[in-house]
């Protein structure tokens, strides 16, 4: 029998595989958007919505910050939120100029 994981902050192999599968599937969606030359606010919202979820998964699961002190999750997720929000504002500004 496997001894209990002394460092439970790291996800289990099955959980990591699930996260990887989602990340790859979401990347295929973004690639399809590019292949079809799809554009417009709805497409960009979908693409960056997926990028936001992917980034959150990297931060919480792969970087293993899920069980880190709240401050570190706020700093990293705050970075992701600010960058995505600024891109959305810039895209909107470009549409209206």
């Amino acid at each position: 029998m496997m001894p209990p994981d002394p460092r439970p902050i790291h996800a289990t192999p099955a959980r990591a595989l699930g996260v990887w599968t989602f990340l790859i599937a979401a990347t295929l969606v973004t690639w399809l958007v590019g292949e079809r030359g799809a554009h417009g606010p709805a497409v960009v919202a979908l693409m960056f919505g997926l990028a936001y979820i992917k980034g959150s998964l990297i931060i919480l699961e792969f970087m293993a910050l899920r069980r880190a002190p709240l401050m570190w999750r706020m700093l990293t997720l705050g970075w992701l939120t600010s960058v995505c929000a600024a891109i959305a504002i810039a895209y909107w500004k470009g549409m209206n100029s």
Binding site: A11, T27, I58, M63, I87
Partner: protein, 202 residues
Amino acid sequence: MNTPAYTLDARAADATAPTPHLPGDLAIWIFILAELLAFGVFLVAYAFARSGDVAGFDARQLGLDRDAGAINTVLLLTSSFFVVRATQAVAAGACARASGWLVGAIGCGLGFVVIKVFEYAEKFGAGVTLSSSTFDMFYLSLTFFHFMHVLLGLVILAALWLGTRQRRYGPDNMNGIESGAAYWHMVDLVWLILFPLVYVMR
């Protein structure tokens, strides 16, 4: 004064719950935050520069190889997954298994480098330079800045691989591998925003 029983129960429950813990060294996280801030400013600068010349940026963007960009995304994500598996292997006391996962991670990283070099060669051949257009300036400098981080990340992964070969890490000595892994995931995280922003958004 007697301590109420419920307080003791609460303490017992706390003892079994995992305590919040920052994986790796505090210094690497401060470094990662500084890197994220620099990339963040750069990515947002691209987005606002584009908003002033949407037609010009969209026209130049058509020349990018989105297939190569998507394959590179898959390579970085897979590499990150392998690094997670290596970290899990070390946590389980299986250093030999961890070095196998790290070989896979380094292989994917090298794949990224090879594809990027071909992409740059094609671009330079087509006359793309830092001064050929504002889009080209951003495309070259943003992706090259990221490329340099991939190269540094590969050096770090190679050092981790050596460490696992020499059995320097283990369940009680995770600091090195957790710090290196966090840096590699940061490189992946930045690319996840860079790819849709520069290669696809229009």
